[in-house]
Every structure is written in structure tokens, then in C-alpha cells.
Symmetry: C2
Subunit: 271 residues, 2 copies
Amino acid sequence: MSQQKRTAFFISDGTGITAGALGQLLAHFPETQFTQIRIPFTDSDAKVDDAQKRIVNARMENGQRPIVIMSIGNQKLRAELKEVDAYYIDLFDSFIEPLGVELQEEPLTRPGVAHSISGAIYSDRMEAINFALGHDDGMTHNGLNQANVILVGVSRSGKTPTSIYLAMQFGIKAANYPLTPEDFERKALPPILEGYIDKIFGLTIQADRLCSLRSERRPNSTYASLDNCRKEITDCENLMKRAGIPWADSTTRSVEELSAIILQKIRQPNT
Amino acid sequence: MSQQKRTAFFISDGTGITAGALGQLLAHFPETQFTQIRIPFTDSDAKVDDAQKRIVNARMENGQRPIVIMSIGNQKLRAELKEVDAYYIDLFDSFIEPLGVELQEEPLTRPGVAHSISGAIYSDRMEAINFALGHDDGMTHNGLNQANVILVGVSRSGKTPTSIYLAMQFGIKAANYPLTPEDFERKALPPILEGYIDKIFGLTIQADRLCSLRSERRPNSTYASLDNCRKEITDCENLMKRAGIPWADSTTRSVEELSAIILQKIRQPNT
């Protein structure tokens, strides 16, 4: 079967982020080419009309009905939206209302209930982001005792984006600290990290990938050369082995995957 | 009805992030106190057994059956997991398989299909994070022409976490640039921003909230004083009004909400 085109809409009365997260499930259908469109803040008749027009247009353009993943609390608006032909996945109908029956609790239906600023977890996340930014690349030694995790690894092994993802998504305070040829020569972790061994998690990476990442930053340097990358990685893995640090390879893993692995290894503050 | 306790499990053969995102929908039930537990990488009989034990324990502990939001591709493991008593929301049964019928395409069932490193969007996101970190707080003027959006506002109005969220979640290259008393005196945007007016989005904030945020950083300073915060905010809003810059108030909005607003205002590279 040849590749078909479909438009997937994520329509919400709030940010559309929860509905949009389900967009990841579309990756299970690699033969279909999806155009993804978010329509947040759909909380009035006029906005529903607008969304309907876009659904109708997409239908005409692709010759196939669009997929609509929707989260709209107001029952009237919800019914209105569904008047045009599309394949609807309605989070209220299929998820929230049945769950309400199970919990014997009427769900809140006002817009923007998820992803609001309220709750301790939101401020934890913002604090964790400040922490990650302030403790990136070993820039300060203060407050390492507050870290939930300290990521170590050679330069460009993926420590920074992983730290930020852990902070943004989970409110985990993640510091990150580079391991350098100086440490490898001493065959020991940087002295400042002693005493935090239980919080340390290592990232490693394959040499050719590291070479390519470093070459973007400093082309034709010793730093980026394949030989140097190989040597640093071997030294770094030996050091981590000796120190008993758990680690993961970032070469073929996304920050989401690395974070899920790291969360399993460390004590989790929120869950 | 008094507040009940329930445990919500997010069980996946991959990162558990898609299933976990649905956890936001639990916010629709404020009367129920949820303990949320992620169990990623559940891709073997042994791991399913382990998850089952945790479900059974949570049931005993709360006296109520747990909620289990699950995404497991392997049909046999899926059926096995559901042998113990819980309220199951099975993303394969309820979303992926029906969607496959609509698309006339068999879904991939191997673990970790979502949130893998593959695809241009992932590298766009990583590049955008580097961009956001490199263009935080006006630290460099190079490459502003590559920005998808330039956030402006007074110090501590929420520019940094919003930039990082836009990058991490959507692959949007967001620079951010502080507006300072010097700019207010000149009654003009920093000269470097001229020529980018179409990309600029402003953040404002209420004075008492700004005062409290700044006091955390520099207690008892003029910088943090309520009078100074009031004056800077008024000056900043006047400047943005004069320059014709759209803006949003960050006082009661999460980075998710601010980002959804900003995305509506700017041209979106990916969607």
C-alpha cells in the first residue's frame, strides 16, 4: 500500500499539550505521513467554527478524513466540533468520563485544568530548571548537596539536554559535571564529587558519534579527532567502572529514554 | 465524600512518557489524591510480574483498586499484566488498534517506538536547546537571525524557562533578551533587536510576584523592591505597546500555557 497522507489535529480548550502528547502514538504508523496541527484554547463557538473549517479543508486536501485528538470540557462545544466528518479520539468521552465513574467523582470541565501553574510540582519544576542551568557543565560547586542526580561524562556526551529534560519534565534537580583528561590521568573522579557517589550517573557515547558532535563545535581540532574521542571514552568508561558508577550510552537514546533510565536508578523525589 | 487515595501507574514497554502525559488528565479529579508511579521498560514476563506485585500492593495499601494507564505493544504481555484487579486504560486497546483500523495500517508493536532518537524532529529539538542556552539573557547577538522567536521582558519575567520549554518540546529556536532601565530611558528596544520585530514576543508579570521572585535572588535590593518592580513593569509595557509587540502575562501562566500562546503568534517551523 502506498504511503497515505493524513492530517492529525490536536484540539483543546487548554494548551493542547496533553492531547498533543498522544501524537507520539502516531509513530506506531510509519506508513502514514501525518501533518500535525495543534489548535489550543478552543473554548468558544467561534473557535470551534474555526477548527471545523480547518478539519474540512484538511479532508479535502488529503482526500482522507483527518484524525482529531480532542480534549474539550464543555459538552456543547465538544458535540459541535464533532459535527464534521473526521476520526475523533475524544479524551473526555473515552478517558475522563469513564474514569470519573470509576472514581465516583465528577470531573472538572473548565479549560486549562491540566498544565496550570497551581500545585507544588510546578514550582518544583521551575526551581529544578534554575538548578540545572546554574549547575551546567560543572560551573558551580555550591549546592551540589541539593542535587537529586549528578550526570558525568566526557564533553558532548549529552549531559546538558538530559539534565534540562529531567528538570523540566520531572522537577528533578540535575547537575552535570564533565570528566576530563585530567581526571583520567589521576584515575579518579573530580574531588568535588566525592561524597556524592550515590547520586552520580554516567553518560557514555560511541566514538564516531562523539567525533561528529565535537567537529560541529571545533572542526579539525585534536579535541574532535576520532582518536582522541576513542581514548577519552575508553578512559572515561574505565574510570566509571572503577568508581562503580552506573551509566548509559547516549548514542542511540533520546533524552526521554535516558531520563527514564536515570529515574529508575535514583531516588525519586516526586513519585 | 471525603478525599480518597488512589495509586495511578503508568506502565510502558518504552519510556512511559506518553502514558505519563495522560497523568495530566488526573488533574480533572481534585478530590482524589493520586500517588503516581511510572514503570518504564516493562518488556518481559519478569518485569510484568514485578509490575503486578506493585499493583496488588497499592490496592491493599489504599483499599481501592489502582488506575493503570498502560502502553505495551506485545499482546501476550499486555494480557498478562491485566490479570490483576485494577482499572486499566490500555492505550493499545483503546487508541492505537482502533486507529490502525481507521488508517488500514497494522501498528508497530515493538517497544520504544515513540520517543526514539530517530527523525529530523529530534535533532531539531536538540539543536533548539543548544540555541536557547546559547542565546539566554541576551548573552550573544550572533545568530539572532536564526531565531524563530525572541522573548523580551524585564529580568525574572519568565523568559528563560519559556525559551527552554519551546526548544525542548517543539524544537522552536527561542532567544531571550532582557529589557532594562537603560532601554526604558531611551524609550526604544535594544538596537540589536531592530530588524527582528516580527519575531519578538513580550512577557510581563505583576509587580508583587516580580518583587517576590527578585527577592529570592537579591533580598532587600533596589532591584527587588516593589516600587522598582512597579516602575520597570510600567515602563516595559509602555515600550512594548509603542513598539507593537504582542505580549502575555506570566504571573498566573505555566510555561506550557505561555508556549501555547506564543506558538499561535509566530510562524511555526514544524507544524
